[in-house]
């Protein structure tokens, strides 16, 4: 196998779309070696110098914008492949995949990326040339940003879209990229990479996708030795293990596992109870609740208006409706047993006391709603298992979530316009990294500050020019 792609000169006919281009395309019996990884990294860097380093922002935005539109089109071959082969490869049902991919690619527009660049750089073309930032008054001082030469990704195993977003950011930074996927989690990153290669061979030649089980020290050391920036996403243990092995000269960016919750005010619930439940169900169902942005708990303000019980019951209805249109992926016996075990626990509680109630999909583990009159944050076993907890107000909810405070990413908020600013301030000061409308929790824009950090800015290094 050759990892030195031959790129035709401009104007030469392009070969048919490749299906065995990346390391991840190799048959499972093929063995990766450290030497192979090193060689692949050096090829990527060479290709970057030839094809990517001096690409204009404008042409990259055009490429990504076009790709975003294509992925939403039903006859786009890569999308078709994702929806046909995806359920078996990823464990998500085709409608859940389609909905998750549409959500992501709808946001992948030139305008959104332009906004991201302005947000991160103060001027959208500062990766192309020296410019002063929009708010920088001294015209004699300009700056240019450049990305890492080789960006290594240690990608998470739960969801595909964060990996795709990291690849987009790396591309905007003009970095060669090596994406190391968790075992059995390479399917969608691979398809996306193929779609990029198909759209632009030169850009695709600066990208490598491989998969192996985390902890293969020889392979990872070879990768980290060539990279000048390592972005890792995963559990705290994974991050600690990776950080420890990244050479001193390379930048390490870690995204740890996060949890999220919803918050619904009394007034918002009174105004549109059914719609609120529908939005909560959308957040619980998106990517089968697997992501860091998926809610574990929905806090409901009680007192007057629809009760927590009424809300939980409506949420159960909406989850059942959602199951019909966007079925949850099939689970293995162990995961299903985890849900059955929790349900058994709450069933006995519910039998004993009115403070607990449970709604559960009949004859399946498809969805479960647990209503508890207890504000303590409870991490879910996921796969559409959601806690509804009634609280007197935001103070009680935040006290209940105290143990999870450092781990909280997103708060999905349903509040009136008058209430929202004050609540947002309280959540922000408490430690939430993102506040969005309920129903949009799994739909962050590209400019979203992952873990509260500049998503693109963290990758870059600046050169200031004082004229």
């Amino acid at each position: 196998m050759s990892q030195t792609p031959s790129i035709p000169e401009d104007g030469a006919p392009l070969p048919a779309p490749a299906t065995n281009y990346f390391l991840a395309d190799l048959p499972p019996e093929a063995e990766l070696t450290a030497g192979l990884i090193t060689e692949a990294c050096q090829t990527l860097k060479r290709n970057r110098r030839r094809y990517l380093e001096e690409r204009s922002t404008e042409s990259l935005l055009r490429l990504l914008d076009g790709l975003g539109r294509e992925w939403q089109s039903e006859d786009f071959p890569f999308r078709k492949m994702a929806l046909e082969t995806g359920p078996a490869a990823t464990g998500f049902s085709a409608p859940v995949l389609a909905s998750g991919l549409d959500t992501f690619f709808k946001q992948l527009t030139a305008a959104n990326l332009e906004a991201l660049l302005c947000q991160e750089l103060g001027h959208a073309r500062r990766l192309d040339d020296f410019f002063a930032g929009a708010d920088e008054s001294d015209p004699r001082r300009t700056a240019l940003a450049r990305g890492p030469e080789l960006l290594a990704h240690v990608a998470p195993g739960n969801l595909p879209v964060p990996v795709l977003m990291e690849m987009v950011l790396g591309l905007l930074a003009r970095s060669a990229q090596f994406v190391k996927c968790a075992s059995r989690a390479a399917f969608l990153p691979r398809l996306f990479a193929h779609s990029l290669y198909d759209a632009d061979h030169k850009v695709g030649a600066c990208l490598e996708i491989a998969q192996w089980k985390g902890g293969e020290h020889a392979l990872e050391s070879a990768l980290f030795a060539e990279a000048d920036c390592v972005v890792a996403t995963g559990s705290d243990e994974t991050l600690a293990a990776v950080r420890h092995r990244v050479p001193a000269g390379a930048r390490f960016l870690g995204h740890g596992t996060r949890v999220s919750f919803g918050y619904v005010t009394r007034a918002a619930l009174e105004r549109s109870p059914r719609e609120t439940a529908r939005r909560a169900a959308a957040d619980v169902s998106a990517w089968d609740q697997q992501g860091c942005l998926s809610p574990h708990v929905i806090y409901i303000e009680e007192g007057g208006g629809p009760s927590g019980e009424a809300f939980a019951s409506m949420l159960a209805d909406e989850l059942e409706a959602r199951e019909k249109t966007h079925p949850r992926g099939a689970l293995g016996a162990e995961e299903a047993a985890g849900i059955a075990r929790r349900r058994a626990f709450y069933e006995v509680r519910a039998a004993h006391s009115p403070d607990t109630r449970m709604w559960a999909s009949p004859a399946s583990t498809a969805w479960t709603v647990i209503l508890e009159n207890d504000p303590v944050f409870q991490s879910s076993c996921l796969n559409r298992f959601i806690y509804v907890k009634t609280v007197a107000g935001v103070t009680q909810a935040l006290q209940g979530a105290e143990l999870a405070r450092e781990k909280v990413s997103t708060v999905g908020l349903s509040a009136t316009e008058a209430q929202a600013p004050d609540l947002a301030r309280q959540f922000a000061r408490w430690g939430a990294k993102r506040i969005c409308p309920l129903g949009q929790m799994q739909n962050p824009p590209p400019g979203w500050r992952h873990d509260g950090r500049p998503p693109l800015g963290d990758l870059l290094t600046w050169c200031d020019w004082e004229k």
């Binding site: 994974t238 047993a337 075990r341 626990f345 879910s380 796969n383």
Partner: protein
């Protein structure tokens, strides 16, 4: 995390009911006892009779165990409407952690067995009194003898790799009963109860008993948890020693490892027992029991090579079903599901128990495959679940 506070809802009326059904439970025990005596013979209790007894016990327990009645009410199941034992609501084993699943009034409880929890959370508790202990012993002995001794007969010198005094352990209680009924005079307990409640093993004393048996050329039985055998085998491995126990010697191992020793797959454990102690594979018996139950399952009759290892079976007075975790109905044949046990010897608590153990049905029994984990999938576990 707030600890769930149990609020019992039992009024004066409930107490009267409990007293009257206590008598009936005792009558039930008297009726069951003769059926526990048969050594072997799967036909000791036919389907029809099992069904009759199970339905009767269900009705009594529905009356006498408050949390069980609440559970059945919640499911809208009343005893009169159940015609087959498989329709009796199975109380989740987790309920034994959070509630007092017992018909025995607090003042009359003389023993409590605790589960050895894996997560440091509250253990399951199973309360007993003299009558229930008598049934417990009557249930365990015939099935133990049948599997452990096979064609051979007691007594035999038995070495228990557990502490003699561990009042909250149903396993230690079982071994004391076994020693009293089946152990030759030289039988010993070589486990030690540590101040923190954990168990350790006196390997020297265990090996000394092995040497004595070899010297006398008399078979012995070694009985203990899988983790205690791993400690013993590790000691032998480290010392580079191996024993050849006399012909007719046996091993009974039970339970998981619970983080107390290195984990060794069961097949490897058996192979090591054969290699380092000289006990043939056919003489190694696996037991499955839990503190919430009063009967145990075994995987084979010792020294009877006709039965393959690993297929566990309960005595005729206890029946197992494998429940699909996904559908809650019976699992397809051979498919992995959750083990549900209907144990007629569980008279003063609840007979139908839904365990958290994964198992698959096999001809003649079931294969134990592990526990239903409560970790959030894919490394997202943040805090312990319920």
């Amino acid at each position: 995390m707030t600890k769930w506070v149990e609020r019992r809802r039992i009024g004066a009326e409930g107490l009267i009911v409990a007293t009257s059904s206590a008598l009936s439970l005792k009558e039930f025990a008297l009726e069951l006892r003769p059926r526990l005596r048969r050594r072997g013979g799967e036909d000791a209790l036919g389907e029809e009779e099992f069904n009759r007894l199970a339905l009767r016990l269900f009705a009594l327990q529905h009356e006498a165990v408050p949390i069980y009645r609440q559970f059945c009410d919640h499911r809208k199941v009343v005893p009169d409407a159940v015609r087959h034992w498989s329709g009796i609501p199975a109380l989740p084993a987790g309920a034994f952690r959070d509630f007092e699943v017992s018909s025995i009034p607090a003042g009359e409880r003389t023993r409590v067995f605790h589960s050895s929890g894996t997560t440091g959370g509250a253990p399951s508790r199973h309360f007993h009194h003299a009558d229930s202990m008598a049934v417990y012993e009557a249930s365990l002995l015939p099935w133990f003898e049948r599997h452990f001794f096979g064609a051979q007969s007691a007594p035999m010198t038995l070495v228990f790799l557990t502490p003699e005094e561990a009042p909250q352990s149903s396993l230690a209680q079982m071994f004391k009963t076994v020693r009293r009924h089946c152990g030759a005079p030289g039988s010993v307990f070589t486990g030690r109860l540590q101040p923190d409640g954990s168990w350790s093993l006196d390997t020297e004393r265990t090996l000394a008993a092995a040497r004595e048996a070899i010297g006398a050329n008399e078979p012995i039985g070694l009985l203990g948890t899988a983790f205690s055998f791993v400690h013993l085998l590790d000691t032998l491995l480290a010392a580079g020693k191996a024993f050849a126990l006399p012909k007719g010697s046996r091993v009974m191992e039970t339970g998981g490892y619970k983080g107390r020793s290195r984990e060794v797959p069961k097949a490897e454990l058996r192979a090591l027992l054969t290699r380092l102690l000289g006990v043939p594979d056919a003489a190694i018996v696996t037991e499955y029991g839990m503190c919430e139950l009063s009967s145990q399952a075994y995987d084979r009759v010792a020294a009877d090579p006709s039965r393959p290892a690993g297929i566990l079976a309960f005595p005729p007075w206890a029946r197992a079903r494998i429940i699909s975790a996904e559908t809650g109905g019976e699992a397809e044949a051979g498919k992995t599901g959750l083990l549900r046990v209907f144990d007629l010897a569980n008279i003063w608590s609840v007979m139908a128990v839904q365990t958290e153990d994964l198992a698959a049905g096999r001809a003649g029994g079931f294969d134990l495959l592990g526990r239903a984990a409560d970790t959030a999938p894919r490394g997202c576990s943040l805090m312990p679940g319920p």
